[in-house]
Subunit: 445 residues, 2 copies
């Protein structure tokens, strides 16, 4: 089975049925689409843009294979001429976007595609699929990072992430947003995300005794062993670790940490810390996991825990697993467009966002306006692709992570809180309101 991500058919059928009609009428004028979130989830005071890098990869690699064309032909829905026109399909357009790691709010586009109509339409499904998911995860992970400053945060969620790509890209998105790394090995290989790993309960159980399991693991990882101590009796296991660590130290083997994966994590951490400290093992760190999310991290802030494995709830963004987001036509052949469907009305035209910060560097407010209309503050969208090619080399994952950190530092306290706050709503410029009125006058009946 070839990679679904590599297939041009990882798209909704309606993209292709529309393209057939455009082909029949010779319609392929310059189209402009923008991706944005109409409304933030109740549980989010900000979103963090992520996924652009994979979108650019996708656009650069967009091709359709002969097997895919044969499948389309077999559906009986498409004309031979149209299918032939797809043979040399390439993305030749322009992309304007927010750098990954940038914070954004309702109605603020994070990506614009300007391309011949058929290209710009076909790529909708996968662009949304990529931007939506990584943005969902980065936004959730950023909340974890905000409430656990100075702690080691490791993505543990591959197993319950929604499939292979979700596992891989949530490791990337959470690292960008401030996690220290991931347990997912492939994320280390692909993106340079630092990888972390300990042991499972099965490792303890496959041995005749817990102590023997600890010793075997420590001998195999003499500089780097974290021992899982909650399989039987957590506190008793900590006493075994003290004895073992002292004995192995004489051989130059260092036990680095212990992990607690069940029960009252804060309570156990305090007991285990005491056992370790009283045993002269204050350098052994305590790592905790099990059903954690930003709320649990906040509640554990005072516990003597050095690091956390954060999995399922972060990778699935369990409290807000999706965004109300869309990739909308905002201009066609030079005319502004907007949708006025009930509850789904949007702003037309090519937009720019200007962000003002206060003297302390905190976000003071955003203005949503039309491209070219200069407002106070710094513009957030910039060109990243032209004629289907990247304009510049993409920033490294580390650079994106540093940008994200600076962005989070710019959050006003109310928006950095886990509590629901008065939302930041961008002001809408006069120029944009005038364009909306023009689009409405235009709107065909």
């Amino acid at each position: 089975m070839t990679d679904p991500a590599a297939s041009a058919l990882l798209t909704d059928l309606y993209e292709l049925t529309m393209l057939q009609a455009y082909y029949d009428r010779g319609m392929n004028g310059a189209a402009v689409f923008e991706f944005f979130s109409r409304k933030l989830p109740r549980e989010r005071n900000f979103l963090m843009a992520a996924g652009l890098e994979q979108v650019l990869d996708y656009l650069c690699g967009l091709r359709i294979t002969s097997e895919e064309l044969a499948f389309l032909d077999s559906t009986g829905r498409f004309s031979a001429g149209f299918l032939m026109s797809l043979e040399d399909l390439r993305f030749t357009g322009r992309v304007v976007a927010m750098p990954e790691g940038t914070l954004f709010f309702a109605d603020e586009p994070i990506l614009r595609v300007i391309a011949p109509l058929r290209e710009a339409q076909l790529v909708e499904s996968r662009i949304v699929n990529l931007l939506h998911f990584q943005t969902v995860v980065a936004s959730k992970a950023a909340r974890c990072a905000l409430v656990a400053p100075g702690k080691l945060l490791v993505d543990f969620g591959l197993r319950r992430a929604h499939g292979a790509e979700a596992g891989l890209l949530s490791a990337r998105a959470s690292y960008i947003a401030g996690f220290s790394g991931s347990a997912t090995v492939l994320a280390g290989m692909r993106f340079g995300v630092p990888v972390f790993g300990t042991m499972a309960h099965s490792f303890i159980q496959a041995h005749a005794s817990e102590l023997q399991a600890f010793e075997n693991f420590a001998r195999s990882h003499p500089a780097n062993a974290t021992l899982l101590i909650d399989t039987y009796d957590t506190v008793e296991a900590a006493t075994k670790v003290v004895e073992l660590a002292a004995r192995l130290a004489r051989e130059g083997i260092a036990v680095r940490g212990v992990r607690i994966d069940s029960g009252d994590l804060g309570g156990y951490a305090r007991q285990v810390r005491r056992v370790l400290d009283e045993g002269g093992m204050s350098q052994i760190t305590i790592f905790a996991s099990s059903g954690l999310d930003e709320y649990a991290l906040r509640d554990l802030a005072a516990a003597p825990i050095d690091g956390f494995g954060v999995g399922t709830r972060m990778n699935t963004s369990a409290d807000a697993p999706y965004l109300d987001c869309a990739y909308k036509l905002v201009e066609y052949e030079g005319r502004p467009k907007r949708k006025r469907s009930e509850g789904k009305a949007t702003w037309p035209g090519r937009k720019q966002i200007y962000r003002r910060v206060d003297a302390g560097g905190r976000i003071a407010g955003d203005v949503l306006t039309v491209e070219g209309d200069r407002q106070q503050g710094a513009p957030l969208l910039r060109a990243v692709m032209t004629d289907g090619s990247r304009i510049a080399e993409s920033p490294s994952t580390e650079a994106v992570r540093a940008h994200a950190r600076a962005q989070l530092a710019s959050l006003p306290a109310r928006l950095a809180s886990l509590e629901r706050a008065q939302p930041l709503v961008p002001a809408v410029s006069e120029a944009l309101r005038a364009l909306a009125a023009e689009a409405d006058r235009d709107a065909g009946r």
Copy 2:
């Protein structure tokens, strides 16, 4: 970028750190792991097993590449001898599982792996990743199918599914569970899932008038056009459809349906149905989409809507985006094992589930017991792989779907309801209780 799903490194680092220790001690005895859900989400009265087919594909294809080995080497965590031992890594074990589409409940294993310890351990992360996700989606989609009998249900969720594989496999899982098909083209090509597609609002907006857009689309899809009517004024658009359909009928072009994607779907459907019927277009169907899930489908049961596009909330299983599930060591070198961590205690040994049905064919109760202990009813687990090879050809997607339909028909009314019901809890046999006591006596200290 190669397919993450094809990489042996789509795993947690701890699988490999454990393997290093096993390698160092020469530990590779026969291990038995089982995958099960400890507890159903509050919002689910049953789960539907799915993902086995992809697990078997994964196990058959498990290989490690030289690039992957080089990456592991670069981490400095692994010995040269161990890395060499991975070079000819293959899965050589046995798998016992429930057929996909089978319903199951808390503590009931849906898959067992029997293999040399290192193989059985390494595959944990991806097995959980595959079974968890498709089971989550099939279970959610089955609830939609239960409340909308006789309706066309189409998966619309690729764009907000969590990545490429989630988009593709949620199309498969929802089709198995009773959906009519998917908008995801690749799911048609890969799995034979029927594909459906209409048009986007952008199609309407790219035209000078809504009527012209409708006509162009219908001419390009003369037997199969579904027209999106909510871009401007839904009811007015329905009147345009009537006029257009009458005019095009003379040319042999049939408008098949209309789609409503915003507002009060039930209210609009009634108004649109009236307009269509009064215009002599009773054969034109009404299709609805926009934020649907099983609760919305139930509330729309009386509306004159023929089919539904169900997306985001189904594909992300938004009300229960993950399961409390695990892949646990239950036996090693012939000795039963179980974890006793707080709140996470499990049943040891190789298990079988027997299901009794009443005279009406409804599930009367399950018994969880040890393999080999015969109980009343039919056993649910069967061997599907031996020595790393499939025992028989996998059932077709259609056959799995038929099995799932029969399974859903066997649900007692209380469990088929969307409301939270008294859960079905499997009875635990004497033989299994005795084995648990043995495992506890054994448990190393």
